[in-house]
């Protein structure tokens, strides 16, 4: 599957949604453009350029085409997937469990499970990081880090 073909179709769809949305907002008139005017121009532009990229991918007059499979072929994509899942877990749990618990768990899992550091380092580094972060954000910058159901 040609990567440019796939991506251009995605952007084409986005452009079509934008144009549809801009009509819903109202284009106004030429001497009094409405809320949807710029979105209409941007959406139309996206449609034209993505259409051009799509056609270019069919004609293939430039170099070797990029295949979707090859984008992940020689990479450790499992690592980035695991990190993404852990990050998503952190985000979902942050306000519920609070800053300390979720942050410690995230960093511990990243150091221990993903990077396979020793137990000592996997506990010590997050502990130090949390302390510094708490001091900088909560005390110095007076931010309000979430406390969660346990109150800390």
């Amino acid at each position: 599957m040609n990567a440019d073909r796939v991506s251009s179709l995605f952007w084409l769809l986005l452009g079509l949604i934008a144009v549809y949305g801009s009509f819903q907002l109202g284009l106004g008139t030429m001497n009094e453009p409405g809320s949807g005017f710029l979105a209409f121009l941007a959406g139309s532009f996206i449609i034209c350029v993505s259409g051009g990229i799509f056609l270019q991918s069919l004609i293939r007059f430039r170099g070797t085409p990029l295949e979707v499979k090859s984008l992940w072929a020689a990479s450790n994509w499992h690592r980035s997937l695991i990190i993404a899942v852990l990050t998503l877990g952190f985000i979902l749990a942050l306000e519920g469990l609070g800053f300390f618990i979720t942050s410690f768990l995230l960093l511990f899992l990243l150091f221990k499970v993903v990077e396979k550091l020793s137990w000592g380092k996997a506990v010590l580094i997050p502990a130090l990081t949390l302390t510094v972060t708490y001091v900088v954000f909560n005390i110095f910058l007076k931010s309000n880090l979430p406390k969660g159901i346990f109150g800390f």
């Binding site: 809320s35 979105a39 996206i46 690592r79 980035s80 985000i91 306000e95 972060t133 931010s143």
Partner: protein, 504 residues
């Protein structure tokens, strides 16, 4: 006399303890991220944006500016010692800098990079101080059509310099404009593309967008690769270049300073363009061009000077016109707008302390950087030994917390993560995020300029071509677009002719 009066006034602001401290923090962090591959000045500025909410705007801009030009200094260290550029503008330094290090001349390379950066940075600030006020008077002649056309020119220049496909870069600019329309329409008060999510009424925040596209996506991409860093273990001797080395390098430094400064002013230009062009220039005028790439000191001096003077020059369109020349300036523009300051021709009148204070802080910043990059070079070398496996969890964590504290809202963290995934996929499919962010930041200005122009002209687009400055900008933009198409057309014709001959 005005020059010296402004010089002194600026220094009274820059030498205030809080500004001095944040200037040092900015250049220190800038050097740090310049040395460490894996995160660049854009990502760092985006991560530190939330921190700037609690400090005065002058201090915030001094710190963020320090990160930008500090990164230009730091990038040379890792380019010379590890052959991995610490940030994009130091890519070209790898060519000759690493070869000099391999020949036991790492000290000279590092020394000339630091001194060249200092000289160029200082001249760049002087140029900024001299050119900015007269440009303000030119900028006062700009009306909505001129601003609109200049922004279009900026998009085209930025995409013209895209490393991959220009069409993809233009597409990203279009997506950026679309993203910029999310939120309340400032003229009609109508919510646009908010999908009934209250947090989106103020639009997508710049910090989550930039942190996601440049910070989070960079992490996802880097953890997939195994990068072996082999740091040259030669002892660093003789950081002060010899007289012979100065004689060879000084011309390159001065040429790099001038070329970098003016390329930095260009919308779409910046430190990266400056470094590449200055290297090409030195190679062209050299009596021994074939030696470039084997350890020529001019090959280090010129790009390092150019990237620093370009970093200063890039402030000119931002401070005088309110138009960011590149994505770094777009982040600074965003930071100013967060503090309710609109840069442009009135900035020097309405906020003289900010204007002259930031400029004067750059003199101090350049001196600090010379100290940081020479005597402390051993510290930076040690930092290079910190594996990425220890760094990326910290960077990720700081991004997550930084995004949360913007509005104490998990929505900003969600948005950052979403843009992180989008940015990761974009880079995989070879779409660059820089045009998207630049377009996003410019969209409110672009829309206002477009609407006001059409109201002025009674609905006619002719206003953009009937006014000379606007027309000139659009002609240059069109010429650049056409010139990028011509080689494609030529190559296609050649390919078709070759295929036709094969068939015969």
């Amino acid at each position: 006399m005005d020059f010296f009066a402004n010089f002194i006034a600026g220094f009274t602001v820059a030498l205030q303890p809080i500004n001095f401290m944040f200037c040092f923090l900015g250049v220190f962090v800038g050097t740090l991220i310049g040395v460490l591959p894996g995160i660049g000045p854009v990502g760092t500025m985006a991560i530190l944006l939330p921190i700037t909410y609690g400090i005065p705007p002058t201090t915030a801009i001094i710190m963020l500016a320090g990160i930008y030009y500090g990164a230009q200094y730091g990038g040379s260290t890792t380019s010379i010692l590890v052959n991995i550029p610490g940030e994009a503008a130091s890519v070209i330094t790898c060519l000759d800098g690493y070869q000099m290090a391999r020949k036991g001349r790492a000290g000279s390379a590092l020394g000339i990079a630091a001194f060249g950066s200092f000289i160029a940075g200082t001249f760049g600030v002087i140029g900024l101080q001299l050119l900015a006020p007269p440009l303000v008077s030119v900028a006062l002649r700009f009306g909505p059509p001129e601003y609109f056309s200049l922004m279009i020119l900026g998009f085209v220049v930025l995409t013209y310099l895209a490393q991959k496909s220009m069409a993809k870069a233009l597409l990203m600019a279009g997506v950026g404009v679309l993203l910029g329309t999310i939120g309340l329409d400032t003229m009609t008060g109508m919510p646009r593309f908010t999908f009934n999510i209250p947090e989106l009424l103020d639009g997508v925040g710049l910090a989550p967008l930039a942190m996601g596209l440049f910070g989070i996506s960079e992490i996802f991409l880097n953890v997939e690769k195994t990068v072996k860093q082999e740091i040259l273990t030669t002892k660093l001797r003789g950081l002060f270049p010899t007289l012979a080395e100065w004689k060879r390098a000084i011309g390159a430094i001065l040429r790099g300073t001038v070329s970098g400064f003016f390329l930095g002013i260009l919308p779409g230009g910046g430190a990266v363009l400056g470094s590449f062009v200055s290297y090409a220039l030195e190679k062209r005028i050299s009596k021994t061009p074939q030696d470039f790439g084997t350890g020529m000191i001019e090959g280090v001096a010129a790009p390092e000077a150019a990237n620093n003077s370009a970093a200063q020059g890039a402030f000119i369109p931002l401070l005088t016109l309110g138009i960011p020349a590149n994505v770094v300036m777009a982040i600074l523009l965003g930071a100013l707008m967060i503090h309710n300051i609109t840069p442009g021709p009135m900035l020097v009148k309405e906020h003289p302390q900010l204007f002259w204070g930031v400029i004067s802080s750059m003199y101090l910043g350049n001196i600090m950087l010379l100290v940081l990059n020479l005597p402390l070079i051993g510290l930076w070398v040690q930092l290079l030994r910190v594996p990425y496996s220890l760094l990326f969890p910290m960077i990720l964590f700081i991004c997550l917390i930084g995004a949360y504290v913007i509005n104490n809202s998990a929505m900003d963290v969600v948005l950052m993560f979403l843009f992180g995934v989008i940015g990761y996929l974009m880079r995989k499919f070879e779409y660059e995020p820089a045009p998207l962010v630049l377009a996003y930041v410019l969209t409110p200005l672009l829309e206002n300029a477009l609407r006001q122009s059409l109201i002025l002209s009674g609905g006619s687009f002719g206003i953009f071509v009937s006014r000379p400055i606007s027309a000139a900008c659009l002609v240059v933009a069109a010429a650049l677009l056409l010139s990028s198409l011509l080689p494609m057309i030529r190559k296609r014709r050649e390919k078709m002719i070759a295929e036709a001959e094969e068939d015969e």
